[in-house]
Symmetry: C2
Subunit: 164 residues, 2 copies
Amino acid sequence: MPVAEKSAAESKFAEFLLRKGLRMTAQRRVIVSVVRSTAEHFTAEQLLAWSQRRNRSVSRPTVYRTLSLMNACGLVRAMDLGEAYTFYDPNFADHPNHSHIICEDCGKIIEFDSDRIAKLEDDICRKLGFTAQARRLQITGSCAKFRETGNCPRRARAAPDSNG
Amino acid sequence: MPVAEKSAAESKFAEFLLRKGLRMTAQRRVIVSVVRSTAEHFTAEQLLAWSQRRNRSVSRPTVYRTLSLMNACGLVRAMDLGEAYTFYDPNFADHPNHSHIICEDCGKIIEFDSDRIAKLEDDICRKLGFTAQARRLQITGSCAKFRETGNCPRRARAAPDSNG
DNA sequence: ATCAATGCAAATAATTTGCAAAAAG
DNA sequence: CTTTTTGCAAATTATTTGCATTGAT
């Protein structure tokens, strides 16, 4: 999943705040910037750690509150992976219709787009008189092949660059 | 989604227990029986209430523990609907590949099967050398049409029959 | 000046767990 | 008899919230 025009996504957040009569703050700027600098799926706790690395004043409640705003405006997507905590997908803004394949061996998340699946979903919704607002498709399993080819590093999960 | 051969599903649980060296108890029998008697998606708390109606001795921890076993053996499927609690799908045993359309207006959950979507998923997994173990597709939106035709009762959610 | 946002500490609440008593095989 | 299961009460833990202070506009 290529990282595309994230700055556009960022201004999307600014516009969202404006429209809602909310304010841009130093903390929010840091948090959004950190999210912008990663393509990995992350937890609130990870985001807190990464953000504090850049600005000690970022607190846990602020991370949760900002995450909620970012989710509301479509900059990020809350995902349930069956773990105790919620994961957030930073690629949602650019690829609102992508799906996830989750490797249970290494925890790796692979993203893919399928116009053909989306088309079938549309047909079904139309047939049922249903107006779709969001969709999520997750496939879990094991990537035996990936491990053979070295593409399934165990629990590899990189932190974003500390210079954003 | 028609209710099909649930008794088969029940013996599946018995076999599962046997295979694992676990035991069948009065509480587990009640819980499984209650789950068998509903086609609705439910929460642990609802299942507790329904089960206690039949046998006061069923406790919350036992419901959670049994739900976990049922999920492990495929009798039930844990679902995240963005609420604070987990919903369980009792139709998973009979229709392991069905998808969900969730109406945000009324909370209603509509289930459907699509061989064509499943086929496309298979193709993608094969192409990635990925062995799928489970899949979940959720589409959320609003069922305006349903409400017109009276098929979208607000938060209607029936308790299962109290006679098993 | 306003009114929103922050950090802190405390609260919330679903789910899990330790343990001694009870039941299954 | 041995091992699992149960209910109870307490623990766990991600996420949320009240509140006084700080900061954005």
